[in-house]
């Protein structure tokens, strides 16, 4: 029941309630109630102070690895996720090239619309990979929604949504990368 919230926190790092809800696709009261249950079990904790946020404990991290691996094998999805991860690894350096091109566009004389077009092109090729992942493990469908939303915001003029900010295209992609590693149990 609390698997999705635990795993979302595993992939996004320290986060406030609203970010956990946004990343998981659940509503805030449901997420908060689950976070409290997880905290009672010692799997997550809330850090006070300036960086007030929810995060996993060491035990929570181990428990997530156990639950995620069990669910993956129970669904018989390991081979499909591994195959999609191989495709992701081909796209990943290109996405990082694009993020750097975006940041350094003034220095390199690259027009902004050219980078945006290249992001859209890459996104079109990432879509079938996300679809394969979602067919194998439905929770991956949330990344497709979040990546599409970030690109949509960038295309409607919020250009910082490509690389900057917690819901930017890069940041969602970074979390997808982390999710694939965590799901398959691959160390970075």
């Amino acid at each position: 029941m609390t698997d999705l919230v635990l795993h979302t926190l595993r992939c996004i790092g320290f986060a406030e309630l609203s970010r956990v809800a946004g990343a998981s696709g659940l509503d805030e009261p449901a997420v908060e109630s689950q976070l409290i249950d997880l905290a009672v079990d010692g799997l997550v904790m809330r850090t006070p102070g300036e960086f007030r946020a929810w995060g996993l404990t060491e035990r929570g991290r181990a428990e997530d690895a156990r639950r995620t691996a069990r669910a993956l094998d129970a669904a018989g999805a390991r081979a499909a996720v591994t195959a999609a991860y191989e495709k992701f690894l081909v796209l990943n350096p290109e996405l990082l090239d694009l993020c750097s091109a975006w940041h350094l566009r003034a220095e390199r004389g690259i027009p902004a619309e050219r980078v945006l077009a290249a992001f859209a092109d890459l996104d079109g090729r990432a879509e079938p990979v996300c679809a394969e992942l979602t067919a194998a493990v439905p929770r991956f469908g949330r990344y497709r929604v979040r990546l599409g939303a970030a690109l949509g915001r960038a295309r409607s003029g919020e250009l910082d949504q490509l690389t900057d900010g917690l819901d930017s295209y890069h940041n969602v992609w970074f979390q997808l990368h982390e999710d694939l590693l965590a799901t398959l149990g691959i160390p970075r």
Binding site: I12, F51, A53, P93, L96, R125, R188
Partner: protein, 416 residues
């Protein structure tokens, strides 16, 4: 018309045919500098191969036969440099050369290379050349090694050769940042003849190109070989200083010096740089410009906690989304792995924080609460400063300055 060109001083074909790497190797030979024997399968062969599958198999077989090498390398090299975008295959048997050349040609069309050309406005129909050379082994023995060198310091523009060397290693280990590299002074000490030949070669190249040059080199059992040369490539304050010095040395005129410096170089010449004089612990690649001083924290959680008491430098082997809160709390970010296009670099730039990535010989041990940088072991909490332009990692806080490029910048602006 032959598609295969021997690497010889009298090979006349331009970079459009031989590729930038192939043309550079011919220039090295023209200057009397040592280059492993080899040949170039040209860009027109690539275009034909990609168009209709044709392939100069017989010509390549003959050239491989002439080479009579036990092992060869096959490297891509387009007219316009596309670093890291296409294939390189090392240590092949001669029989495997045709397939490797085909693979290099095919790598022109990978989506990543295609996107790179889209971004940089490079035509998609040019193709790449393939450079086939006898292997030289930097890992042969204790008198072997490999490295990269610049004719002037790429961080400051200072007119003295700068470079890094790895003894008993192959070239990919320098670029990969997996082992701790040594400064060129170590090469001069351990292999004085190689060090002297390298310096002389850099000086000859600089006078030929009338610009700062960068080379890749390998030495095998005490014998130096040049594997690549590229002219230019300095940015910011280093570009300003090099242009002014080259004009003073009479290699270029003042008008050329002014033309070589971009508006962006002028702007970034004013970016603060680390003040010289501190003990340099290691160097990495500058990934997000600016200077940051702080006490080192080895995990994101520690960075958040320590930040309450003053500026913190987050030091990680690499970064994951789990480090984001630590990056947000830190004044700067230092990683042992990755590159200028890594997640860490992207996030640091998006947060506007100085970052150095791929610092050589950096071992982060959060469990022991210590950081190893080359020969030094630093406990968590040690004050360290990074320069996200030049990639320096310095013990303590030597301060920062915008004055380094000052006199050169003023003179250049007076010439404009």
């Amino acid at each position: 018309m032959s598609h295969v060109h021997p690497l010889r001083p009298d090979t006349a074909a331009p970079a459009a045919v031989l590729g930038g790497k192939g043309r550079g190797l011919v220039e090295l030979l023209r200057l009397g500098l040592p280059v492993p024997p080899g040949f170039v399968v040209d860009t027109s062969a690539c275009r034909a191969h990609l168009r209709d599958g044709s392939f100069p198999a017989a010509e390549i077989a003959a050239a491989v036969g002439d080479l009579a090498a036990g092992a060869v390398s096959v490297r891509s090299g387009a007219e316009v440099s596309m670093p890291g975008m296409m294939d390189t295959v090392l240590n092949l048997g001669p029989a495997a050369v045709p397939d490797a050349v085909r693979a290099v040609f095919a790598s022109w069309h990978t989506p990543r290379a295609t996107t790179y050309r889209e971004l940089h406005g490079i035509a998609h129909d040019r193709g790449t050349a393939a450079v086939v050379q006898a292997m030289v082994f930097g890992n042969r023995d204790d008198r072997s090694g490999t490295g990269v060198a610049f004719s002037r310091d790429p961080s400051t523009g200072e007119p003295a050769p700068y470079g890094e060397v790895l003894f008993r290693a192959q070239g990919d280990q320098v670029v990969g940042g997996t082992a701790a590299t040594r400064p060129l002074s170590d090469l001069a000490e351990r292999e004085p003849a190689v060090g002297a030949a390298l310096r002389a070669g850099l000086s000859r190249l600089e006078r030929h190109y009338r610009d700062v040059c960068q080379v890749e080199f390998t030495f095998e059992s005490g014998r130096l070989w040049f594997l690549q040369v590229r002219a230019g490539g300095l940015v910011g304050g280093a570009a300003v200083r090099a242009a002014v010095d080259l004009a003073d040395e009479g290699l270029i005129d003042r008008r050329t010096a002014v033309d070589r410096v971009s508006a962006h170089d002028l702007a970034s010449a004013r970016t603060p740089r680390i003040r010289a004089g501190g003990e340099v612990l290691t160097r990495g690649q500058g990934a997000s410009p600016g200077v940051a001083a702080g006490r080192i924290a080895l995990t994101a959680d520690r960075a958040v906690r320590m930040a309450a008491a003053g500026p913190v430098l987050l030091v990680r082997p690499h970064t994951s989304p789990l480090d984001l809160h630590g990056m947000a709390a830190a004044a700067g970010i230092l990683t042992g792995r990755g590159g200028p296009a890594s997640h860490a670099a992207v996030v640091a730039r998006s947060m506007g924080k100085p970052a150095v990535v791929a610092a050589t010989g950096l071992v982060v041990d959060p469990a022991a609460g210590s950081l190893r940088a080359g020969d030094r072991v630093l406990p968590e909490g040690t004050l360290v400063t990074i320069d996200g332009t030049g990639g320096e990692v310095v013990l303590g806080d030597p301060g920062s300055t915008t004055a380094a490029a000052g006199p050169h910048l003023r003179r250049l602006l007076a010439w404009a």
